[in-house]
């Protein structure tokens, strides 16, 4: 798709030790959300869904490149609301919309349909932040993009490690 890499030498960070993985059972427990500890577990459950997504142009995960970190996910279970904030590796990253699309598709496939999901780039980390955010949250554009076989192949490729 691109002749040269957008970011030829990304910084790869050491993986943090993972907290134990929690099952989706937590999602069903309406009382769990009342304690802060559970909120943390909760975000981690969501994080688990997206941390292993592969970067579109490198053999590293979004977590390896710190595109996604633990505090990237805000969950308000009472309102069935999730917001994911990701950090492109370079501020002119043309892959930002593809990364955002991967995040959206992964959450669409993993979460109960009652969740409303907003996806955005971290404030100040992308040259066309407002434009990228607007596109990622226009569901008509997302729907049209997901009918494009080339784009779907690319997304599926990035998502493959996250389903392992």
């Amino acid at each position: 798709m691109v002749a040269g890499l957008i970011n030829a030498n990304p910084i790869v960070y050491e993986k943090k030790e993972r907290r134990p993985r929690t099952g989706s059972v937590v999602l069903e427990d309406e009382y769990a959300v009342e304690s802060i500890d559970h909120m943390v577990v909760f975000s981690l459950t969501f994080l688990h869904h997206i941390r292993d997504i592969k970067d579109p142009e490198h053999p590293y995960s979004l977590e390896d490149l710190k595109v996604i970190t633990e505090d990237a996910i805000e969950v308000d279970d009472k309102r069935s609301y999730v917001r994911v904030t990701f950090t492109p590796t370079v501020e002119h990253c043309s892959m930002a919309t593809v990364i955002g699309l991967c995040l959206r598709v992964k959450l669409m496939r993993s979460l109960p349909s009652r969740y409303k999901v907003d996806i955005r780039v971290a404030p100040g980390t992308h040259a066309t932040e407002a434009a990228v955010n607007k596109q990622l949250n226009d569901k008509e554009r997302v729907a049209a993009a997901l009918e494009n076989p080339n784009l779907v192949d690319m997304v599926d490729d990035c998502l493959a490690p996250s389903f392992e």
């Binding site: 349909s113 607007k134 008509e140 049209a144 009918e147």
Partner: protein, 351 residues
């Protein structure tokens, strides 16, 4: 129907129509159905690439699936619209085409396929007489097509002006004036230059004119056509007015002016608004809710011009994409959703 000034009205779910296998985007009531012994007919279109035709059974008063239009559009069918005569159905698809259908017996036959847009067609609308059709696309353009004898459709004009994809086009209910709204946050008004077949933009309603600050998704008119309502990703609904009598008497163009903004109601994108003949504005949004608004009757001069009449939280399990009042039967509302269903509602006294 009870007076709209009564506050004890609510939407009651009459029926849930299931059959689509993907999100349902658009709805269109056949304008000639639903009265004088003609059973109400509703078309719904979906991400499953099909259009379904639902008909009310005279004996049971419930809706049933009458026909499924499939295997023509190769991608999402985003919008559908009946011609004023109720004889033709136009369908706009992400496959970049618009198809024209005619009912033959129990089947729908494709009479024409309108090609020209570079990519996704998002909306299609017939003018009041049925002689003109407008389509719009992610390619930022609006095409005006003339319906000719023999089911020919000729493109008479391509309108450029929006700087981003055009979400919806809608003709004025009586005048040949076209309205469009866009991802560029504006609403544009288009009119013809005398007899020259040359269409141009006569007005742009922007954020600076009390307009919307994000994508404008939908447009609707009141029965007399002197007021317009629009809905947006900025979570607001706006009402606009124009001296349409001036236009109708041939005195020239009457500009549209902002009358009021309804905000603080929906807390996610308002995808659809539709104004009923009785003056009730319905709105459907990504917060899964449907809300109804009416003009304030007890107006003391400084209060809001419109007030919330009723709301239905959790009208659907997911985003509400379209709301449409029945063309003949008072208080009949249809809604469509990402939850793959269509619902039929009746506005009636609260139990």
């Amino acid at each position: 129907m009870a007076s709209v000034s009564e506050d004890n009205l609510e939407l009651q779910e009459i029926q849930k129509l299931e059959g689509h296998t993907d999100r349902v985007w658009g709805l269109a009531w056949n304008p000639t159905s639903g009265a004088d012994g003609v059973p109400a007919v509703l078309a719904s279109c979906s991400g499953d690439k099909t259009v379904k035709i639902w008909q009310k059974s005279p004996s049971t008063s419930s809706f049933h699936l009458k026909a499924t239009i499939e295997e023509t559009h190769t991608r999402t069918v985003r919008s559908c619209s009946w011609s004023p005569s109720g004889k033709l159905l136009a369908t706009a698809s992400f496959d970049a085409t618009t198809a024209i259908w005619e009912q033959v017996g129990d089947d729908f036959e494709c009479l024409a396929t309108l090609e020209g847009h570079e990519n996704e067609v998002k909306s299609v609308s017939w003018n009041a007489s049925g002689s003109l059709l407008a389509t719009c696309s992610r390619d930022k353009s609006i095409w005006i097509w003339e319906a000719l004898p023999g089911n020919e459709f000729d493109c008479v004009s391509v309108l450029q002006g929006h700087t981003q994809d055009v979400k919806m086009v809608l003709w004025h209910p009586s005048e040949d004036i076209l309205f469009s709204c866009s991802y560029d946050n504006t609403i544009k008004v288009w009119a013809e230059d005398g007899d020259s077949d040359d269409w141009h933009c006569v007005q742009t309603l922007k954020e600076a004119n009390n307009g919307h600050s994000s994508t404008v998704w939908s447009i609707s008119f009141n029965a007399t056509g002197d007021k317009m309502v629009t809905s947006s990703d900025d979570l607001s609904i706006k009402v606009w007015g124009a001296d349409i009598v001036r236009v109708q008497s041939g005195e020239g163009y009457a500009p549209w002016k902002h009358l009021c903004t309804l905000s603080g109601y929906h807390d996610r994108t308002v995808f659809s608004v539709h104004w009923s003949r009785e003056g009730i504005i319905s709105s459907g949004a990504a917060d899964d809710a449907i809300r109804l608004f009416v003009e304030n009757q007890d107006d003391l001069g400084d209060g809001p011009m419109y007030r919330l009449l009723s709301k239905k939280e959790k009208a659907h399990e997911q985003d509400v994409n379209c709301v449409q009042w029945g063309s003949k039967e008072s208080g009949l509302l249809a809604s469509s959703s990402d939850d793959c269903s269509v619902k039929i509602w009746k506005l009636g006294p609260r139990h």
